[in-house]
Amino acid sequence: MNRLFNVLLLLGLGAAVVASFVYLGIDLAALGDHSNLKQMSAYAQRFLTPDLSPAYLKAIGHGMLETVAMSALGTLLAAVLGLALALPAAGRLGWPLRSASRLVLNALRAVPELVWAALMVFAAGLGPNAGTLALALHTVGVLGRLFAEALENTPPQPADAIRLQGGSALWAFCYGTLPNLMPQLLAYTLYRWENNIRMASVLGFVGAGGLGQMLYVSLSLFQEAQGSTVILAMLLLVFTVDTLSSWSRQRWVKA
């Protein structure tokens, strides 16, 4: 019975794959035929000579700084707001607030960063501001949920002791719970920042600034030489971030 079910499942998957190709009307054969391939390779060839003039490199540098700044400030905002939302989400302020804040966090998390960016471009206009806000909104959902889980797993005794000696709830949290929580919060925030640098590069496709906007503009104007420079810059940024983070993780993460 089990076997039969699995076989049926596999057949179903195969059928779904075939149906997808048919539905989309993708003609793989036509894709691979001579004239199409020639067209694509001609397009690809235009990318082989990146524009490395000093003036453009300066613009790329500006774009990279914009991208990094967007990701950094967006993540920072998200960490602060995420912590604020994590307190009710961990049940510290009562049950109705717990459900409400969890709902808000899930909703913020479910919408992808690019969709937020499109909405923010509408609200805030073109430019990196929209990107920063979009990253902040999405990341609040992610970090808020992670922070709430960390908060639920912290021992309550230090904070309770401070409440017992007359301290207010705020200081009980800051002196009793936060010291235990800080390393974990920091680790989550840095991990999201790393991810957000990658996202910040592409948010520009909908007009939210950074390297992405440069790429979109140059491709729309058929300036493939400039476009390929931007792609190289993106790769460089991602590679640097990956290396730095794995190096710092090896150096500072205590087993």
Partner: protein, 265 residues
């Protein structure tokens, strides 16, 4: 009357009765020791006195106030005048000792001072003085996780000394220390209570320490007070009754451990 309990009863969540109709009153400036077997309810009694635990029935009066008839804010202000030394020090591992000690005055400081203290300790000499009385002056800037169990307990005591409360409640304050250190720490506590006219109530496992340092002994067993007497009146018979079915710590020299000779082939 500084501390007064009237028919206080506490029942744990699992149904076990921790205290049954306890009547107690302690005057200002007294020094009292509570002894009894494990599970007698010593911690519960101290927690009720500290207004940490609300008794199911009965009344709690601390420093002239009926604790559970106050508003929450008034109760917080009352709690700032009560110091509870916990058996397991509630100190975050990554916090530095200086911040942990200075946190004792959080009930008395305003918003600005509390915030500033997080960033930079405001009263380093005060913290050092509190720690120096317990021989921990050199550990001022160490992290709590770097300390041993006995040192951590002393930091917990230093925090309460820094708080300078009017009522000092201590729940097994020397349980993790060696006998010499325990003796010394207890005398520091009693001396502090004498000098500052602080009411001191301690629960202790080591009966000799209780008999040596305190003038009034309360024996607790199964959630009820078995006796409440000045030290001179506490004799062997009463202690035996208190600790029945428990090995009483011998006050004479301990018997030498029998050594077993394992023959070597």
């Amino acid at each position: 009357m500084t501390l007064r309990l009237t028919q206080a009863s506490v029942t744990h969540a699992n149904g076990a009765q921790a205290l049954r109709g306890v009547d107690l009153h302690i005057e200002a400036g007294e020094q009292v020791a509570i002894i009894g077997p494990s599970g007698a309810g010593k911690s519960s009694l101290l927690n009720v006195l500290a207004t940490a635990l609300r008794p199911g029935n009965g009344e709690v009066q601390v420093l002239g106030e009926r604790a559970w008839h106050l508003s929450a804010r008034q109760r917080q202000r009352l709690r700032a005048r009560i110091g509870l030394i916990h058996q397991a020090p509630p100190l975050p591992p990554r916090q530095r000792v200086v911040t942990a000690v200075l946190a004792g005055k959080l009930g008395q400081w305003g918003m600005g001072k509390s915030l500033l203290n997080l960033l930079h300790p405001l009263d380093i000499p005060g913290a050092r003085a509190a720690l120096a009385r317990l021989d921990l002056g050199d550990k001022l800037f160490a992290q709590c996780q770097q300390l041993s169990g006995g040192q951590l307990q002393r930091v917990g005591i230093a925090r309460v000394l820094y708080q300078a409360p009017e009522v000092l409640l201590a729940d097994e304050p020397v349980s993790a220390m060696d006998p010499v250190l325990a003796e010394h720490t207890l005398s520091v506590l009693c001396q502090h209570a004498r000098e500052h006219a602080v009411t001191l109530v301690t629960s202790l496992h080591a009966v000799e320490l209780a008999l040596a340092h305190f003038s009034r002994i309360i024996g607790l067993r199964d959630g009820q007070i078995l006796f409440d007497l000045p030290t001179e009146a506490v004799d062997r018979k009463r202690l035996d009754a208190l600790y029945a079915n428990e090995q009483l710590a011998s006050m004479s020299k301990p018997a030498p451990p029998s050594s077993v000779q394992i023959p070597r082939c």
